[in-house]
């Protein structure tokens, strides 16, 4: 609202602040849901969930799902679906293994080739979807079969591994502590003079420094954008809400980073993930490219008549999805340290579930990157927590299925009420 009109300003300002709050309400709800679920399992597992080693594991276990969820969010917002990502990830893992183990390629070159191949696979599927107008469900269903088959063919029934150490670092490595560890409580030594596990408290200093830099940058940009809004006469959200939001967010980041720091520091893969998340948030929120995806998903005909090249956009989206599936395949292979014929099976369903739990609409046009990431972690924490509790895999599936249904039902119920 501009401040030019005198009387209605306060009302309108209130309305637009309320609208902004409502817009974010879902996200707050998701964060709260994730925290509640984590606290629940923390209690049920007698405190194992929040152990530094387990939190680190949680990240490693879910990293490839999160990476693919970013692309899947674009796909689903655009009004499509991609069922092939699991098979493509598995296939790319095999390609990487053949290149590195059988032909001795350097991990970096092999990795780049793999991501390029992923992009070509995604682009090819995108071509059929965008230009031939074949429903994405069908194109990617056939893609799923094709790449599952190619994976089996390429590996010929064997598992290929192990990978060169450099490549393993993608999933198993941690950033080096260039500053040097900070010993808060020295660990107890065992008979042979080595530190015993779970004793003492040694912080990975570089991780903590990075944490503080991230929080500082976050607060700086939040304040800056708030200032900018105010100086142009647009009301920002209420100050109290602004403070609470940022303090809570900063607290969560510092807490998690502290946990990582007291284990082995930041996992390499978390750096990759974090970079991609920030990139995709920026993509969807601030760039014309992202805005056009939402416009297309909301009403493709209107988008087309507004001059958006919907075919090309769809093509790009699937290309990006293919590259992310390839990256996920690399992360997964590096984590297992081998390429197996079963790699990637069923992964697409976890990815799609994460995006829907995160609040995306199956009709297209609605969804958030942050939501998809939190959705992936909600599913991941449940996997992890139920695993520690020793719940059988059969019941884990049942519970996860019900959570997915419940989350979407709750969402629709809320929308109807609003």
């Amino acid at each position: 609202m501009s401040t030019e009109t005198a009387a209605p300003t306060t009302n309108a300002a209130k309305a637009s602040a309320q609208a902004a709050f409502k817009e974010n309400l879902r996200q707050y709800g998701l964060v709260v849901a994730l925290i509640v679920i984590m606290l629940f399992f923390q209690y049920m597992t007698n405190g194992i969930l929040f152990l530094p080693v387990n939190l680190t594991n949680l990240v490693l276990q879910n990293s490839y799902i999160v990476v693919m969820a970013l692309g899947m969010l674009l796909v689903i917002v655009a009004g499509h679906i991609d069922l092939s990502v699991g098979s493509v990830a598995g296939f790319i893992g095999a390609v990487a293994a053949v290149l590195m183990v059988d032909y001795g390629f350097h991990p970096l070159i092999a990795g780049l080739i793999c991501i390029l191949v992923g992009g070509i696979i995604g682009g090819a599927q995108g071509y059929f979807i965008a230009y031939m107008k074949i429903p994405s469900f069908i194109v990617t269903l056939s893609g799923m079969l094709v790449f599952k088959g190619l994976l089996l063919w390429l590996l010929g029934g064997r598992s290929v591994g192990p990978f060169p150490t450099g490549f393993q670092m993608l999933s198993a490595g941690f950033i080096p502590d260039v500053i040097g560890p900070l010993v808060l409580v020295p660990p107890t030594l065992n008979a042979s003079g080595n530190p015993m596990p779970n004793t003492g408290l040694v912080l990975h200093t570089t991780t903590m420094v990075i944490a503080i830099l991230i929080v500082a940058a976050m607060l700086y940009f939040a304040l800056k954008s708030r200032r900018a809004r105010e100086s142009h006469g647009y009301d920002a959200e209420p100050f109290a809400l602004f403070v609470i939001k940022n303090v809570v967010l900063a607290g969560i980041i510092l807490f998690l980073m502290y946990k990582f720091a007291s284990y082995r520091g930041l996992p390499n893969v978390l750096i990759v993930m974090g970079f991609l998340i920030v990139l995709f948030v920026f993509f969807t929120k601030r760039m014309t490219f992202g805005r056009r995806i939402f416009a297309m998903g909301g009403n493709e005909k209107a988008a087309k008549l507004s001059g958006i090249q919907t075919e090309r956009l769809t093509f790009y989206i699937f290309g990006i999805m293919g590259m992310l599936a390839a990256l996920a395949g690399l992360i997964y292979a590096a984590r297992l340290n081998q390429a197996t014929p079963k790699a990637g099976a069923g992964m697409e369903l976890d990815v799609i579930a994460a995006v829907f739990v995160g609040g995306a609409s199956a009709m297209g046009g609605v969804g958030e990157v942050a939501g998809a990431v939190i959705g992936a972690f909600i599913m991941g924490v449940m996997n992890n927590g139920m695993g520690i509790m020793g719940i059988n895999i059969d019941w884990q599936q049942v519970i996860k299925g019900l959570v997915l249904l419940g989350a979407v039902a709750f969402d629709l119920y809320n929308k109807k009420k609003a």
Partner: protein, 525 residues
């Protein structure tokens, strides 16, 4: 109230009253949609309900038909002398109250017969008897004057005929009170006439009807009485003899409408837009020529109308020019500012300074699940972003607020979801979108379809302002008075050809119709 000491019999309405709705109040969260509305419909009459969009007409009909069940509203409904408490649409249909909604509820890929008996299948021992269904369908189609095979798929007949199928469907349910919500909104003049005649014929046979309409001339033509609703309240009910357009409009908008069309002194400059020998073939049947060599031009500051019947090819022409969004085998030339222009994609057309605001804003115009701000900027995102494609949030907000004010969009803020706006305000969002792309030539396709008198006036004002700013405007409309009211020059289009061109002050409905008929004769000979 049913529990009140005074019982329903002494309270019952007079005998010639078929329906009486008393003190109907219906609230939605935060909004009072209806407050103490009264409606009295006599047996055998055609009762028109008029009011601006969002006045509560459709809500009232949903209360009547049980879409909002008893208990969801307060007030009483008396039908055929007894109080009714419908809990669903089935209850009201059982009593012979059938409503035909503005958006037709037909299944496109089923046949006419299948649609006629949808949910009311002609069965014997639980099995559908297709011979019986077809025979009854043929009967019903004869009654509504539709000469089509009952096995024809709905998708293969036009909107006008589909409307007749809806009416036949109502007849299949033994209708006593037929409710038509904006039945002629998407019909051509000819189809509308047929529909209204049919309504009068049914009246002679004793049927009662409620007609919700924006078109005052047709209300005047068929209605026995008219009830005006404004802001969820009954304003007045008048008899046929008292009905004048002025009185209805005054009641509807709550103020006198001096003139339905704002005045403008035309200041016409040089030709800025010209189309030569434009030929287009049908999208799906490339052997059929839809546009047959059209030549037309628009001058700077000029408002040019395209009149014609439904199916004349007006929208097809506009869309084929605007980025070839319709048709195949398109040939012909477009000139902008005297230079040959490439408009073969929407992007190129926009770059040439063209804009096309669609006739169907919900399907082709807006992202209904997103808010005003995003809809306004979507056709010109570079206008609010840096060269690298990063959107400047504040610049975008500023633009959205500016156009919201400029086109007078009524909303709580630019963050209101466009799907929740009234038709008139949605149209203003579509206009804002195109104004922000800063075109020289605007093609407005049915810019006031389905919006109320007040909003229409605002749209005309915007059009006038644009003309004064020196833009060329091409208006496509099925409402001839509208073209006569706002255009400097009018082309008449019929079956893909221009069959007449006249200056606005010389034009009349008769002249336009004569041009169409002459064109048809010429085509036939």
């Amino acid at each position: 109230m049913a529990t009140a000491p005074m019982n329903a019999q002494t309270n019952a309405p007079a005998t010639d009253t078929l329906l009486e709705m008393r003190d109907i109040t219906k609230t939605f969260p935060g909004v009072k949609a209806l407050s103490n509305v009264n409606l009295n419909v006599r047996s055998g009459e055609i009762h028109a309900i008029v009011g601006e969009n969002g006045a509560g007409k459709s809500t009232l009909m949903k209360v009547l038909s049980g879409v909002y069940p008893f208990g969801d509203y307060s007030g009483e409904i008396f039908y055929e002398g007894e109080e009714c408490r419908f809990t669903g649409i089935h209850d009201s249909e059982k009593r012979g109250i059938v409503i035909i909604h503005q958006e037709l509820a037909l299944v496109p890929l089923l046949s006419i017969a299948e649609n006629l008996f949808l949910g009311n299948e002609q069965t014997r021992f639980g099995v559908i008897d297709w011979n019986l269904a077809r025979r009854r369908a043929a009967d019903l189609l004869r009654k509504v004057g539709l000469r089509e095979d009952p096995d024809t798929l709905i998708t293969n007949i036009g909107t006008g005929k589909q409307q007749l199928v809806e009416i036949a469907k109502a007849l299949a349910k033994d209708v006593k009170l037929l409710i038509l919500d904006e039945p002629t909104a998407s019909l051509s003049e000819k189809d509308s006439q047929h529909l209204l005649d049919l309504l009068l014929e049914f009246k002679r046979q004793g049927m009662t009807a409620i007609l919700i309409s924006h078109k005052l001339n047709e209300v005047k033509k068929v209605a026995d009485r008219v009830t005006v609703i404004r802001d969820g309240q009954t304003i007045e009910t008048m008899d046929k003899d008292d009905v004048t357009e002025d009185r209805i409009i005054t009641s509807m908008v709550g103020r006198t409408m001096e003139d339905r069309y704002p005045t403008r002194t035309p200041n016409v400059g040089e030709t800025i837009f010209e189309v030569k020998n434009w030929t287009v073939h049908h999208q799906l049947h490339p052997e059929r020529m839809v546009i047959k060599g059209i030549d037309l031009h628009v001058k700077k500051g000029e408002v040019v109308g395209i009149a014609g019947l439904m199916g004349a090819g007006r929208t097809e022409f506009a869309m084929s020019v605007f980025g070839r969004t319709y048709g195949t085998n398109i040939s012909g030339e477009v000139f902008v500012h005297g230079k040959k222009a490439d408009t073969s994609t929407v992007g190129k057309a926009v770059a040439q300074g063209l804009a096309y605001a669609t006739e169907d804003r919900k399907v082709y115009g807006l992202n209904l699940i997103d808010h005003i701000k995003h809809n306004v900027t979507i056709a010109n995102l570079p206008g609010v972003s840096s060269g690298t494609g990063v959107i400047n949030d504040l610049a975008e907000l500023k633009v959205a607020n500016e156009y919201r004010k400029k086109t007078n969009i009524r909303s709580s803020s630019v963050y209101q979801i466009t799907g929740n706006l009234s038709g008139g305000n949605q149209q203003k969002v579509v206009l804002s979108k195109w104004l922000f792309s800063d075109p020289d030539i605007l093609i407005l396709d049915e810019p006031t379809r389905g919006i109320d008198v007040g909003a229409k006036y605002e749209i005309y004002t915007i059009i006038n302002k644009l003309a004064e700013e020196g833009k060329g405007i091409l208006v496509i409309s099925s409402e001839m008075p509208e073209l006569l009211g706002i255009c400097d020059r009018i082309y008449v289009l019929n079956e893909g050809r221009i069959v007449g061109e006249m200056a606005g002050h010389e034009a009349s409905q008769e002249k336009i119709m004569r041009a169409i008929v002459r064109g048809e004769e010429k085509a036939a000979s």
